[in-house]
């Protein structure tokens, strides 16, 4: 335990090209890009499925299957097949992003479509009764009401991505996983454990940021149980998929 604290408090480990700060920035870069791409794909798709109810069966099952695919294996396969077609860093960065995007899509998708599906049908009917068209109902009623669940989907996707970006180091990329992998190869347990502490701390910090953003981004009209439930860390969207599947 003392070795880990000594490692973490040594300023030499924090600066430079292989310092903690640099690795942290890399880690956040990989994660952010992946979550953004996944959100751009999954939120519109989820809104479509939730709004029209079309393709629901296919989407639910594809998302469930994607969850079962082990990220480490997928990463190695992607590096082997995609890597040789690219040059330089991209040969490793792109496969890594593919894996992280595949990981992030199911929770965002599940959060979005179950969020839209769970909108009170009275609210939907009222919107139609006021003369809104389908797209208006979606944009003005369903989307704002679904925000808490979309957020909790984004949140669990981001947490999984931050956790999994650690394995980028196994194919020679940076990120906080470097300390785990480098420590392992030279049998330096202090470095490994320090890296593990850093990754865990980053995940907790990201979770806290999401909790704060969620509190302020969700319409105050949606108070009560639903907001409270979505504000807690957990698996509501995942469960929703399996309960309704």
């Amino acid at each position: 335990m003392n070795g880990v604290i000594n490692w973490l408090t040594d300023p030499a480990h924090w600066s430079g090209d292989d310092g903690v700060v640099r690795r942290l920035v890399e880690h956040l870069e990989y994660s952010l890009v992946a979550v953004l791409i996944a959100a751009v794909v999954a939120i519109p798709l989820g809104l479509f499925v939730g709004h029209t109810g079309r393709g629901r069966f296919a989407v639910v099952n594809a998302a469930g299957a994607a969850r079962a695919v082990p990220s480490l294996g997928l990463l190695f396969i992607a590096v082997m097949f995609v890597g040789p077609r690219l040059s330089g860093d991209a040969a490793f960065v792109l496969p890594c992003e593919i894996v992280l995007v595949v990981l992030a899509i199911p929770p965002i998708l599940a959060g979005t479509y179950s969020g839209v599906e769970e909108v009170d049908s009275a609210a939907r009917d009222a919107a139609k009764g006021m003369g809104m068209r389908g797209t208006e109902v979606l944009a003005k009623v369903e989307l704002p009401c679904a925000l808490p669940l979309i957020f909790s989907g984004l949140r669990s996707a981001t947490l999984q991505v931050v956790a999994t970006a650690t394995i980028a180091a196994t194919v020679g990329l940076g990120g906080l996983g470097r300390f785990l992998i480098d420590g392992l190869s030279v049998r330096d347990y202090d470095q490994m454990a320090a890296g593990a502490v850093l990754v865990a701390a980053l995940a907790l910090a990201v979770d806290v940021v999401f909790a704060l953003v969620q509190r302020y981004a969700v319409s105050p009209g949606l108070t009560g149980r639903r907001v409270r439930r979505a504000a807690e860390p957990g698996v509501t969207p995942e469960l929703a998929v399996h309960v309704t599947a």
Binding site: M1, V4, G64, A65, R67, A68, V69, P70, S71, L72, G73, L74, F76, I77, V79, M80, F81, L159, V162, A163, T164, T166, I167, T170, V171, G177, L180, I181, L184, Y189, M192, A193, G195, A196, V197, V199, A200, A203, L204, D207, E232, P233, G234, V235, E238, L239, H242, V243
Partner: protein, 214 residues
Amino acid sequence: MTWFTQHISEVLDLTLKHAYLAGVPLILGLIISIPLGWLARRYKVLYVPLIAGTGLLYTIPSLALFILMPLFIGTRILDSVNVIVAMTIYTVALLVRTVADGLGAVPDAVAQSATAMGFNRPRRLFMVELPLAAPVISAGLRVAAVSNVSIVSVAAIIGVPQLGSLFTDGFRRDYADPIVVGVVACVLLALVFDGVILAVTRLVTPWQRVRRAA
């Protein structure tokens, strides 16, 4: 494909190890989650700390948890006990909330009828409330099963043998066949777990079949 036929026994052995490392924590996690979930339901003050606390555990990345385990329980880094304990923690993190919500969804009238019929607390819990919560708990267990199977493979990085070892070996030798076989085996194993949980749920909730047939 030829690689697979030549290495069937090795793949089977790794699959069994994988099933053990992913399956035992599911059972342990369920056993631990039931009392915790019940506590969260029974005493309102405990709900938020228990659910938020266990939820927080789930945010710890798996590789980090595998590596940190020896610091907490004094095992060696290669010990498979690290993986079992870490996976049990994840399972509990997912299930406490599910158990609490499942118990909460039992209609009040049913619980009160059980009391009126003379069921004491423990008997009411095991004979009435838990069986009625079974479908919800089973849904949570299925999520945990699939994620356990996938997460366990990461333990190959620290050298605990299971299907993930096929990934690290294949990658080291720049040979895709074992990796593909490993991924397929993982997905199949997840499907088997899912099927077992569904079958057991059907067995313990016979009234659901009757309702569906009617």
